[in-house]
Subunit: 281 residues, 3 copies
Amino acid sequence: MPAQVRACLTGKLAIMRERRPLVHHLTNYVTVNDCANMVLATGASPVMAHAPEEVAELASIAGALVLNIGTLTLPWIESMIVAGKAANAAGAPVILDPVGAGATRLRTESCLRILESVKVAVVRANAAEAAVLAGLDGEVKGVDAVSGDARAAAQALARRFGVVAAVTGVVDYVSDGQRTVKIENGDAWMARLTGTGCMASSVTGCFCAVEKAPLAAAAAALAFYGAAGEIAAGRSPLEEAGPTWPEPRGPMSFKTAFFDAVYRLDGERAARMARASEFLK
Amino acid sequence: MPAQVRACLTGKLAIMRERRPLVHHLTNYVTVNDCANMVLATGASPVMAHAPEEVAELASIAGALVLNIGTLTLPWIESMIVAGKAANAAGAPVILDPVGAGATRLRTESCLRILESVKVAVVRANAAEAAVLAGLDGEVKGVDAVSGDARAAAQALARRFGVVAAVTGVVDYVSDGQRTVKIENGDAWMARLTGTGCMASSVTGCFCAVEKAPLAAAAAALAFYGAAGEIAAGRSPLEEAGPTWPEPRGPMSFKTAFFDAVYRLDGERAARMARASEFLK
Amino acid sequence: MPAQVRACLTGKLAIMRERRPLVHHLTNYVTVNDCANMVLATGASPVMAHAPEEVAELASIAGALVLNIGTLTLPWIESMIVAGKAANAAGAPVILDPVGAGATRLRTESCLRILESVKVAVVRANAAEAAVLAGLDGEVKGVDAVSGDARAAAQALARRFGVVAAVTGVVDYVSDGQRTVKIENGDAWMARLTGTGCMASSVTGCFCAVEKAPLAAAAAALAFYGAAGEIAAGRSPLEEAGPTWPEPRGPMSFKTAFFDAVYRLDGERAARMARASEFLK
């Protein structure tokens, strides 16, 4: 595992849980409650606000800003850009979740507008969304990806916009266009819930609020998040030599266990569970 | 049980779970997360989007469109009509949930506008809402029904607008104005949660996406949904000769079990549990 | 314990659960589902609606109106004022939750506008929000309080606007400016979930719908709510001599248990668990 990712897990997570930085969200109303509870469980403080009159004030005091276009409208995109510029001015990292990019023209164009107007630190997307934004071919079925080479999409997206691209799927790829980290944590139960992509973006925001290097922050976030998923699925124990949790009865049992696991997972255990490997290009 | 309802449960549910059709929602922000997770658990793919610039694009690629007025505003009604017309043009069935029709003038009038502008396949309502829209007397207390003859309301509503009316309550009635199916599945725990009506509409959308006959689709959806409620309540085993689930400790334990039961209930078992009977007029 | 608080718990809760009064909310989209389910579990009927065309109609038939500015915009504030005036005209008590007052100018000014335009019965806030609205010093970090003398803030806020101020934290203080009730129920798990403040406001709305005296209603609501939290945390049995519930595994297990406990907790047991004491000034 890259040393920076390990250091982020073993050092920065504890700092986050002590400082509890604000993570400001402009996000969709479908999964917003889950994102807020996920931020709390990870160890930061969520604030959700979108009014144009206040977003700059909040973004400028936040540790990170998460822009998620899941239920976008044009006025929300305007607010996102105002918030993003304020975060940029204040030095707070901006995370973009381009939910459904490629599914409609409005989504694709709104993402491109945000990427051109705001300095985005991390784009957290699925392979299809990343491929569309990178200008590669890609099929997008609603808001769920059905195809695409995740690694190539991450690298192309990172290079095109000078961002860190965190592309999640069965295997996650986090790339700054030069270096790419492959992460093999997570569990199939995560795909059976709505909002696991949105929450991955929120957790990335939490880690970016305490780790300046977005590549390490995003990779650590996804390894941590995936490791918690494995614990919740009953595949790995929460403690090194402890018992595994019971197998979920269904997706909502898994959801309960997942939030509980995120809350209880510490950085040392996450670092030991992380399956992250770095390779050039 | 009507043969078409049985065939829908034993055949179409499996097809849904393989194809995972998009079910596009314009719905309220109170229960939208539950609706999304319920669609996933049933076996389809939820997409929630309301921006006027994109609803037609999404509705035209969806397997079904669900319009739920729970937290309506005038701009949302406009978007619903745009989406509904696009779904009509693409041949995708439209499901309307007239939440709180009769409670305010805005709600009643908005439903009537939708019913006049869009070809609706199924109206999924409670007895009071159905009675108001059918032009019968009915008392409506907020968004929960307190009175009304469900069967008469279903039949009258179906005839007035040429729709299938799926009226849910202790006993459900699904009518096309000629044929009426009575469904006696479900459990009292379902009334102790917000959103069980909304989710019934979403599940109806899932079945309509794979079954062309809306009467059979709606009846199968409600039998399936109610059967899952019985399993979650600890009254029926998930498997023919299996153990029953533990009795819920309260409404939130029931909610967890309910989503898990929907996810795990297959069509064969649902068909055996269904208490659906058809009678003329 | 003040006799009026005890009488509210032992008498009015049962009346609420029989009558199930409407509690109309204009609230944020982050915790709205939790608020609706919490109102149902407590024993009333939630209705969430914000369209300017219908809020007055609903507020005028409601037992109480809850205004929560968590995700405010200017149009929502307008709707809140329309609804508030209609509730005032109909004699329904209005509860204000000034989420994040002090965090942005928009929030502070919107609360002051509401307090000047609408006769508010109870302001349910944290110490920092209350201090800001009372004109005292106070630091506000996002939407979570970090400082402030809760008792002084409650008293000052109550006097400034002629309201009952219900200020929640590790210890709650409910004051009408003359009399102040101290409530020492609750559990640390409640702070690890988003929306426990919002839900406290909703439960206050439920009690205000059946108890005319807002000081007693708010104090009873917070004692009831905190007692349910203790049961859910596994610290007190639900029944006098019964077993305690299992300790939560994490915040989402706690959440499930919390709603279940609210649903199952009756007024007699709540009155015996309540740690409420009154003192002058």
